[in-house]
Subunit: 423 residues, 2 copies
C-alpha cells in the first residue's frame, strides 16, 4: 500500500477548503481591487518573463524527448505572439465591467415586496486543462474578475510553465492584498490529484474540463461537482439548395483554412443534392488548392475525382487538420438529422438564400452557436461581443456556447420588504 | 447472476432514447398545441378521477400497512384541496407565455453580423422524486410547456397513483397529436432503474432530484448527467441588533407556523446578542403559544426557561416540524458565518432597521433567496412572480432558487450574416 496516497488526498481537501475560504473574500472585492490584481499580475509576468521562458523551454524539451507530436509541442510554447496576446488579454479583462452585484429584473409584488436577481460569483471554480499553459493566466483572470476563487490543474506536459506562471499570479495577489489562495495550483503531476479534486463538492462549485475526449469523459464520470464541458467542435456548414456559389466557397474556405487546430473550425460539409453538382466543384477546388484532403460520401466522390471515400468514423471526426468530410444529403431535413446525430453541439452554419430554410435551421438545430451565411469562426467570445471567453461550452446548462464573465457568475433572488407576511 | 438486470437496463436505455426522439418534436410544438395538451390532460384527469383515487387509496393503505409515519402518509394523498390545486395548476401553466423561440440581446457587430440569444428547450429532463404524486402532473406540465420531453420516476410508495396519473397525461398527448413518449414513466419500483437512468447522458440533458438527503446524495454521486439539486431548506431568520420587536415576532411566527413541512419554513433563529434580551422573550412567547419546542444555545436558555439545550446537530436540522433552533450570536459577522456553515443555500432573511446591516446581509449571504424584513415563506415561484415552479434549486448553476419555466430552457447563440468572413 502506498503511504503518500492519503496525504495527497488530504492536500487536495486542504487546498479546496483554502480556496473556499478565499472565495468569501474575493466575492466582496471591489472592481478596483480586482483590476489592481490583474494589472499587477501583468507587470510581474513581464518582469519574470525570462525565468518563465526557461521553465517553458524545459517543458518543450521534455515533450520532444518524450516523442510528443510536433503540433502538440507547439501548443505548449509560450513565446512570441502567444506571450503578447496573453499579456494583452489580461489588460482586456481589467477593462471589462464587473458583473458582481448587478441587480436585474427588479419588480414590486402586489404586497409591496420588492424582488430582484443579484449577480453573484459562483464561488470556487476548478479548471482542468491540457496543453496550452496560457490558460493558467487567462482562466485565473476571468474567474477572479467574476469574484471567484480558482483551482488550476494543468497538464503534466506543461507542469513547469504552469508553476512559474502561477507563482507570479499568487505573488500579484499578495502584492495588492487579495488572498493568495484565490489562485490555487495543484502542484503535482499525480493523476490521483484529479480524482480527489473531483469529489470536493462541498468546497468547489463548478469544474470546467478543457481538453480531449478522454479527459472530458473522465471528469463527467467521476465528478460529484457540476461540470460544464468544453468539448470537441465537430462543426458543420450545410449548403442549401439555394446557396450562392461565391458565398459558399468563401465561407467554407474561411471556416476550414483560417485556423485548423481550433474547435470552431469546419470539419464536415453538407450539400443539398439539388445543388451538389452546381456548388461542389467550385467549393472543393478552393480546398484542394489549399492542400485539404476531401473525404466524401459516394455522391461526393462521383463529383470530385480527387476525393477519398469517407468511412462512418469520418462523420464523427474532429480533425483539427487539413482534412474535410463532405456529404451530399437529400434535403434540409437530412442535413439537420446529420448534425443531430454526428455533431457535437458546437457551431453549425447554413448557407442559403431561402427564407424558410434559414428559419428552419435556426429553430431546429440546437447547437450552442447556430448561424446563417457566416463563417463558423465567429463562434468566439471576443467576436460575439462577450469581451473575453473562458472557452466554449457544449453543455446546455448554465452557459451554452462561448462563455464569458457572466457564465462565471450566478443569480440569487433578493427580497426587500418592510414586514410582509405570507399569511 | 440475475437475468432480469440487463433487460431492465435495456428498457431504460430504450425509454431514454424514445424520450430524446420525442424531444425533437416537442421542441417544435406551437404554444397552441402545448396548451391544448395541458387542457386535455386536465379534462382527462377529471374524468378519470375516481379511478385515480382508487389507485391512490391503494398506495395509502399499503403505506399505512408498511408503518410509514402519518405525515408521510398524508403527503401521499391526492384528494381534497390537493386535487383541486393540481388541476388549477395545470390551467395556470396553460396561461403562461411560451418561453421557446424568444430572441434576446440582439446586437449588430461592427462587420454587420447580427448576434442574439435564442431560448430553446433543454431537451430531455428526468425528475426523480419521492412521496407527493401530484409532482407527476405539475412537473410534466412545466417541462412540456418549455418544449422538453420528461422522464418521471416517482417514489415506490406512490407507484399506483403515479401510474394512474401518467396514463392520463400520455392519453392526452395521443388525443392532441403530441408524441406520447414526451411523457415517459419509469414503470417499475426496482431501484436499479434509477442507476440505469442516471448514466443516460447521451439522451438526457438534466436530472432534477426532489427528495430527502439520501436521494439527493445518491443522484449527485451516480449521475453523469447534469444535476440541479432541490435540496433541504435549513432556512434562517437573523434578528439584527436594530430589529423591530413587533416585526420580528410577526415574521418569525409566519415563517415557522404558517406551514411546517415545507422547505421554505424557518428552522433556525439567530439573534444579535445586543438585542437578545429585548427580542427573545416576545418572539419565543408567540412560538410557545403555538406549541413550538425551542432548542437554544446556552445564552438562549438563560433567557428562556422553557428552552431545551441545543446540540450541534440542531444547527444542521431541517425539522419540518414544530421545533426551532435558536442561537444568540456576537454580531452580524457571526450570523453570516453561521448561515454559511450550517445553512443549505435555500432562504435566509434578516430583520433589521439598519441600512448597513441590510446591505451586508444581501451582499454577503449567498443563499438562493436572501431577504430583508419579510417572511421566509416568500421563497416560492408563484409568490416571486415566476408563474409556477418546478421546485427550488439549491445548486448555483443554471437556476438558483425558485425555478420556473425559464429554468427549464437554455439559450443558444444565433448568428444572422450575409457572408461575413472572420479573416
Amino acid at each position: 500500500m502506498a503511504t503518500d496516497r492519503p496525504t495527497l488526498e488530504q492536500q487536495i481537501v486542504d487546498l479546496a477548503r483554502a480556496a473556499r475560504a478565499a472565495s468569501h473574500e474575493t466575492a466582496r472585492l471591489s472592481r478596483a481591487r480586482k483590476d489592481a490584481w490583474i494589472v499587477r499580475a501583468a507587470e510581474r509576468l513581464e518582469t519574470a518573463r525570462e525565468r518563465i521562458f526557461e521553465a517553458n523551454r524545459a517543458d518543450l524539451a521534455a515533450a520532444e524527448a518524450a516523442g510528443l507530436e510536433p503540433p502538440m509541442v507547439k501548443r505548449l510554447s509560450l513565446e512570441g505572439d502567444k506571450w503578447r496576446s496573453m499579456i494583452a488579454g489580461l489588460r482586456d479583462v481589467a477593462g471589462l465591467p464587473d458583473p458582481v452585484g448587478e441587480i436585474a429584473q427588479m419588480s414590486v409584488r402586489p404586497n409591496g415586496l420588492r424582488v430582484g436577481r443579484m449577480r453573484i460569483p459562483l464561488g470556487v471554480i476548478a479548471i482542468i486543462y491540457e496543453s496550452r499553459p496560457n490558460v493558467t493566466v487567462d482562466a485565473a483572470a476571468l474567474c477572479l474578475k467574476a469574484g471567484n476563487a480558482v483551482i488550476l490543474r494543468g497538464g503534466s506536459e506543461a507542469f513547469r510553465s504552469n508553476l512559474a506562471l502561477g507563482e507570479e499570479l499568487r505573488g500579484a495577489a499578495r502584492d495588492v492584498g487579495v488572498p493568495e489562495d484565490a489562485v490555487a495550483l495543484v502542484a503535482t503531476t499525480d493523476r490521483a490529484a484529479i480524482d480527489a479534486l473531483l469529489v470536493q463538492d462541498r468546497s468547489i462549485d463548478l469544474v470546467i474540463p478543457r481538453g480531449g475526449p478522454g479527459l472530458i469523459r473522465k471528469v463527467v464520470e467521476t465528478s460529484t461537482i457540476p461540470v460544464i464541458k468544453h468539448d470537441a467542435g465537430v462543426c458543420h456548414i450545410s449548403l442549401d439548395a439555394s446557396a450562392d456559389e461565391e458565398m459558399a466557397a468563401a465561407l467554407v474556405r474561411d471556416s476550414k483554412i483560417r485556423q485548423m487546430a481550433v474547435c470552431n473550425g469546419l470539419e464536415t460539409l453538407l450539400v443539398h443534392r439539388a445543388a451538389a453538382r452546381r456548388l461542389l466543384p467550385r467549393v472543393l477546388k478552393v480546398l484542394h488548392e489549399e492542400g485539404v484532403e476531401i473525404r466524401g460520401c459516394e455522391r461526393t466522390c462521383e463529383i470530385d475525382a480527387e476525393a477519398r471515400p469517407a468511412a462512418e468514423d469520418d462523420w464523427y471526426a474532429e480533425y483539427l487538420a487539413p482534412i474535410l468530410a463532405v456529404r451530399v444529403v437529400d434535403d434540409l431535413e437530412a442535413a439537420i438529422a446529420h448534425v443531430r446525430r454526428y455533431g457535437s453541439s458546437h457551431t453549425d452554419v447554413i448557407v442559403t438564400s431561402d427564407y424558410a430554410s434559414s428559419q428552419e435551421w435556426v429553430r431546429r438545430v440546437d447547437s450552442s452557436t447556430v448561424g446563417v451565411n457566416c463563417s463558423t469562426a465567429f463562434s468566439d467570445g471576443y467576436r460575439l461581443g462577450l469581451g473575453a471567453e473562458i472557452g466554449i461550452s457544449t453543455s446546455k446548462l448554465h452557459a451554452y456556447g462561448p462563455m464569458g464573465l457572466e457564465g462565471l457568475t450566478a443569480q440569487k433572488f433578493v427580497l426587500f420588504g418592510d414586514g410582509q407576511l405570507r399569511e
